[in-house]
């Protein structure tokens, strides 16, 4: 078992990498703009229930989404707008789910971050943290049964989510079956308000890799360069049969747990620490410095993102609300086996 602490690998040619970087950056911008819009819709009372954003985590998330390809499995979590978009989720799916459109993939039955399209490899999360990991394992097991080689499955979790029994059982299961699972931990210092000191006592979560017999990677989660390279490496290793990969990124959540939360519990020192820097800013600086793009282009991309999001919101706002009389109120696919409870 090799236990790499920082293992960035190589991502082909320099120009290829630049293209990936630009693509990733634009994905991050789109996710940020989408998140900002969702926040403003929330403040305007247009969203039912909570809103959970990925601000500050876009670099890591987008890298996960971009490192995957068609046929792979992705089970994102609450802060993965960027990864979802990169994997192929549409802005429309996101907005429809948040705004409760019956035309969205969840048909207003579930909302906000609980969305996906299993048939397209995008698994919709249940709320119970850690519960998606073994589901991804099962999908990978199915691929193995079906002789569908070379696919991988990625899923994301927070630092707090590592305390769940589900995390343990599933990572261990993946290790025993040597599944091509990429488990990405966003260690953002807090689980809701709870600091990591109340969540675990090891020095670095990546130290858990050895105890499962899986590969460990750790990285700065607000450095897009590191994220792209590390995820690329991890995914390639999983794809080539080297078993599960545990990726642990250090970063900071630059928003509340949900939009209802002012996160006043965050230690102000984190905000000025290196990992508290906004990954979008870090990437922008890198782009400009490398002369991969000019300020003007950044501006244009941002405006394009805004337009894309505004268009989606405009569409969804014209869509009908769900009609309870059109629901069949049946949880089974075998309709004939469902019980009709007539109302008295």
């Amino acid at each position: 078992m090799v236990h790499t602490v920082v293992d960035r690998g190589t991502v082909g040619e320099a120009s290829v990498f630049r293209d990936t970087y630009l693509k990733a950056y634009r994905g991050m911008v789109l996710a940020r703009v989408l998140d900002d819009k969702l926040a403003s819709l929330y403040r305007g009372g247009k969203i039912h229930g909570g809103v959970f954003l990925g601000r500050g985590q876009e670099a890591l998330s987008v890298a996960v989404g971009l490192s995957l390809r068609k046929g792979d499995i992705f089970a994102p979590l609450i802060r993965d707008a960027a990864g979802r978009l990169a994997f192929g989720e549409t802005v429309l799916d996101a907005v429809r789910t948040y705004m409760g459109s019956p035309l969205g993939p969840m048909r207003a039955r579930d909302g906000n971050v609980h969305r996906g399209r299993p048939r397209e490899g995008l698994f919709p999360m249940v709320s119970h943290l850690g519960a998606m990991i073994s589901v991804v394992n099962g999908a990978l097991l199915a691929h193995r049964f079906k002789g569908k080689a070379g696919t991988v499955g990625a899923t994301c979790l927070g630092d707090g989510g590592t305390s769940t029994g589900a995390f343990h059982e599933a990572l261990n299961q993946a290790a025993v079956e040597r599944l091509p699972l990429i488990l990405v931990i966003a260690n953002n210092e807090y689980a809701y308000s709870t600091p990591t000191t109340s969540q675990f006592a090891c020095e670095n979560l990546v130290d858990r890799a050895i105890g499962y017999g899986v590969k460990g990677h750790s990285l700065e989660g607000n450095d897009l360069d590191a994220c792209l390279k590390t995820l690329h490496t991890a995914v390639e290793q999983a794809r080539s049969g080297q078993g599960p990969q545990l990726v642990v990124a250090k970063l900071l959540r630059l928003c509340g747990h949900g939009e209802h939360d002012d996160s006043n519990y965050v230690d102000p020192r984190f905000r000025t620490a290196p990992h508290g820097r906004d990954c979008l800013k870090v990437a922008e600086e890198h782009l400009l410095q490398q002369k991969w793009a000019e300020a003007k282009a950044l501006e244009t991309w941002r405006n394009e993102a805004i337009q894309k999001v505004e268009e989606a919101v405009a569409i969804v706002q014209r869509e009908p609300t769900p009609d309870p009389y059109k629901e069949n109120w049946c949880a089974l696919s075998a309709k004939h086996l469902s019980e009709g409870y007539d109302e008295p």
């Binding site: 809701y192 629901e327 109120w329 049946c330 008295p344």
Partner: protein, 321 residues
Amino acid sequence: MSITYLEAIREAQAKALADDPRVYIYGQDVGAFGGAFKATKNLAKEFPGRVLDAPISEDAMVGSAIGAAIEGMRPIIEMQFADFSTIGFNQIVNQAASLFWRTNVTCPITIRLPGGGTSGGGPFHSQSLEAIYAHFPGLIVMTPATVEDAYSMLLEAVAIDDPVIFFEHKYLYYHLKAEKLPTEAMPTGKARIARAGRDMTIVAYSAMVHEALAVAEELATEGTEVEVVDLRSVKPLDTDTIMASVARTGRLLCVGESWPWGGVTAEVVARVSTEGFDLLDAPPQRLNAKDTPVPYHPNLWAAHRPTARSIAAAARNLLRL
């Protein structure tokens, strides 16, 4: 001064902590943050070292409460949502519930479960799980419907030597207010006649009590007097009070926010039919949430759970039977 259902829960915990050094609180974000719903606001400051943040480990949260109870403590466990208690399920129904019966050593733990639906809550933040806990021997399941009961029953939960599953209804947290906290209370195990009436009995609990009361109000204008029984606890279930009410009215409608199969309404109707068959002038009726997960969108949610409107319709039907 006025106090909400949520504040009553906070106050009860403050009093329990103040009165009994054996009490402590353990749950996710319950410390400095004061809990996801602020049910433990300021308690960590007021009672240093006795309100502890837990890792996201519901199984270990409950397990540790059991061990602490064996050694003489009286823990209060807050689950962030009732829905997440499924992760602590094994420790609750197998270890906590059976401890006294197996060993003669009591297990005085209180597990606070913010349950029930709210608009936009969705399938995993809305569940009403009282039935699955009530099914297991060795547990007490409380479902307070009023600010006063939220306060006094939580105090009683902490005082009881057996494990108590305490369902707080999230919809009532802010919606429900009272003038002041009670100084006296009915004992656990006693249902309350929330409104007297002679024409039919509606048995309800938790948030549904208020829907039932609204129906009683509405039907009163039509000359029908509905008696509303607030179960307060679903285990024990106060069959005597229900039966006495049905004896007066001859008609029973039982309403629950949880799913139909084997829910509180099944148990109530089964008891009244088996033990009070002759009291019934019409078939007993029940109304539950629909047999699907709880939907996210308010339009769907409102149609999924019983409301004053659907209860009133059921009540009118029952009167015609």
